[in-house]
């Protein structure tokens, strides 16, 4: 079952969901609206290889906003640290963002119980679009589970800012 917004706020109050910083006005009926940090990364090379570490470059979103080019991948991050040791998180773009043609993840909405950190977003615009630091870009949902819980302790734990793929580590 999906948690209601009221329940998300209650569970956060009880320390069972982490959203930091937290803004009461960002609570939706079934989700919490998170915001975009100013920190983006892009891959330096055009050609990627999933089995190798791919070099990246940093971009900062200036106060006047940054124009994302269509059909190009930007890795971004949430400003909020979010996670839970009790509920499964999934996230989606806000409908208003999707209506601008902007993906915030590429078929990868599912998080792991126990991951706590800033979330890496995959920004991919289908039309050039200007984005701003602090804009409410997506929404986090939480789901109840059945079965014994083991907590995430993977390679992205406690992420701070956007993380490039660490898939290459599986190839060692």
């Amino acid at each position: 079952m999906i948690l209601s917004g009221l329940q998300i706020a209650r569970e956060r109050e009880a320390g069972r969901i982490i959203i930091d910083p937290f803004d009461e006005s960002a609570v939706n009926p079934n989700s919490y609206n998170f915001t975009l940090s100013d920190h983006l990364i892009v891959y330096s090379d055009e050609l990627l290889d999933a089995s190798r570490e791919n070099l990246t470059e940093e971009i900062r979103i200036p106060p006047e906003g940054l124009q994302l080019k269509a059909n190009r991948l930007y890795l971004a991050a949430t400003r909020e640290v979010m996670g839970s040791e009790h509920y499964v998180p999934t996230f989606a773009a806000r409908s208003s963002v999707a209506r601008l043609g902007l993906f915030i993840n590429l078929s990868a909405p599912l998080g792991d119980i126990g991951f706590i950190g800033q979330w890496t977003l995959q920004l991919y615009a289908t039309h050039d679009v200007i984005v701003y630091e602090g804009m409410k870009i997506g929404q986090m949902m939480w789901w109840t589970t059945v079965g014994e819980i083991a907590l995430y302790d993977g390679k992205y734990q406690h992420a701070n800012g956007p993380r490039a793929s660490m898939l290459f580590r599986n190839f060692r």
Partner: protein
């Protein structure tokens, strides 16, 4: 409700969930990390017609050195594992590591029906050129408990064991 990794493992032992082959180290907190299978299919039709069969192209084997995929083109891949459940519904997603490389593993169609125990076809699209490797851990399958009487899938992709192109054309009234 979403099954935890321990519950996925337990229900597989009970025979209610199928994941073959299965290794304990691919069990995740609330999903199972599936791998990219060996076959890839890309159709050459200039225009896809929802009412007509596509030019059938034999799937190619991904070579040992990997396969280079390009943007603005749709590739169909497959899971290495046969996955499904007679009791739960499932959803297939990319993992963060593959999404952060600009790769989609499905195109807005994550849902797998109860009773479909198959080698899943993946709709792969990339945002920049990338080399993918067979057997790499590419996605996460999650299982959902079902509210209400369970009906088993018996659709056109039942028993799929290899990458399968769209058969939407079979829906057209003749």
């Amino acid at each position: 409700m979403l099954l935890t990794g321990a519950e996925i493992t337990r229900q597989r032992r009970n025979g209610v969930i199928a994941i073959e082959p299965f290794t304990a180290d691919q069990v995740e907190q609330n999903s199972y990390g599936f791998r990219l299978g060996h076959r890839l299919l890309s159709c050459d039709d200039e225009v896809y017609d929802a009412h007509r069969p596509l030019e059938r192209i034999a799937p190619v084997e991904i070579p040992a050195e990997g396969v280079l995929l390009y943007p603005n083109r749709l590739y169909l891949g497959e899971t290495l594992e046969i996955i499904g459940s007679t009791r739960y519904a499932c959803e297939l997603y990319g993992n963060l590591s593959i999404a952060a490389l600009g790769v989609w593993i499905q195109v807005s169609a994550p849902l797998g029906h109860t009773g479909a125990i198959v080698r899943w076809t993946l709709e792969i699209r990339v945002s920049q050129p990338i080399r993918l490797h067979r057997g790499m851990r590419i996605g996460k399958v999650a299982f959902w408990s079902v509210n209400g009487d369970v009906v088993q899938y018996n659709g056109r992709y039942a028993n799929s064991v290899a990458v399968t192109e769209s058969r939407l054309c079979t829906e057209v009234a003749s």
